[in-house]
Amino acid sequence: MHGPIATHRSATGVPTGRLGTWWLLASEIFIFGGLIACFILFKLNGTPGFEDASLTSVTAGAVNTFVLLTSSLSIVLAHAAIEKGDQNKSFTYIWYTIGAGLVFLGIKTYEYTGKILHGHTITENLFWSFYYTMTGLHALHVIGGMVIMALISFDIRKGYNYQRVELIGIYWHFVDLIWIFLFPLLYIANF
């Protein structure tokens, strides 16, 4: 058995890997949730600078949202494929997801560069501080997810750890969920 017997027990009925992944996500909810809560607090307080949400490109944000939604689809299809044992199809879908992640990061890089060249640096005002912090932390999670996904893709091609496709999928959906909330907060200004 790979790993201790403990890992293969399941008194709750939820396999250990999946249970652990959900606990990870629960704690991440507090980290991102804390940041988002602080953002909302300042925004609702009328802190100067938050009207700059109109300066972020809704098109770029919407395209990125579409990219992440599609990447969520591809990773769940990867999971459906590996459930049937189709290693190659799953491998392909995983790499589609990684590709989508790269597109996302590319668009973000383009956005960051444009904004910084226009003088909207992280220290300009509190809105931009939050913008770069929140999307930056999110991007780090995207990169981490992509790296782990790549490693899992090689594992499944060798024939083991099929269950991890579902787990990285759950993580990836969470990253998508965070972005679903960051998009309206950071890109839609008129309220």
Partner: protein, 109 residues
């Protein structure tokens, strides 16, 4: 995966997510604040629910996981509503229009 359940149609869910995305982008363009909130944020919540229930399989998962997540969100709510009065109310009954506070901001101290 030990549970045998019928998968949702993932592509169908994706399609609806994209439709909702388009609505949430179009809504704010009408520049009505209440509509913006409903379309931008309300739809975000619906999209989140669709992703969580279908892509993350929460619809088919043991209930304890959903319970855990709801609890986490409630605690975040406690944090938000506990902190909001302090961050969002800098003026008070006795201390209206804080001159010292505002002058600090103006002088960028």
């Amino acid at each position: 995966m030990s549970e045998a359940y019928a998968h949702p149609n993932y592509v169908k869910i994706w399609f609806w997510l994209v439709v909702l995305l388009l609505i949430s982008v179009a809504g704010p363009m009408l520049e009505i604040p209440a509509l913006t909130i409903i379309t931008a944020f309300g739809i975000a919540v619906i999209k989140a629910f669709l992703v969580a229930a279908n892509f993350m399989h929460l619809k088919f998962e043991k209930q304890i996981i959903s319970f855990l997540l709801i609890l986490a969100l409630c605690l975040l709510g406690v944090f938000f509503f506990g902190v909001a009065p302090d961050i969002m109310m800098t003026d008070g009954d006795q201390w209206i229009d804080c001159i010292a506070d505002k002058s600090c901001v103006e002088q960028r101290l």
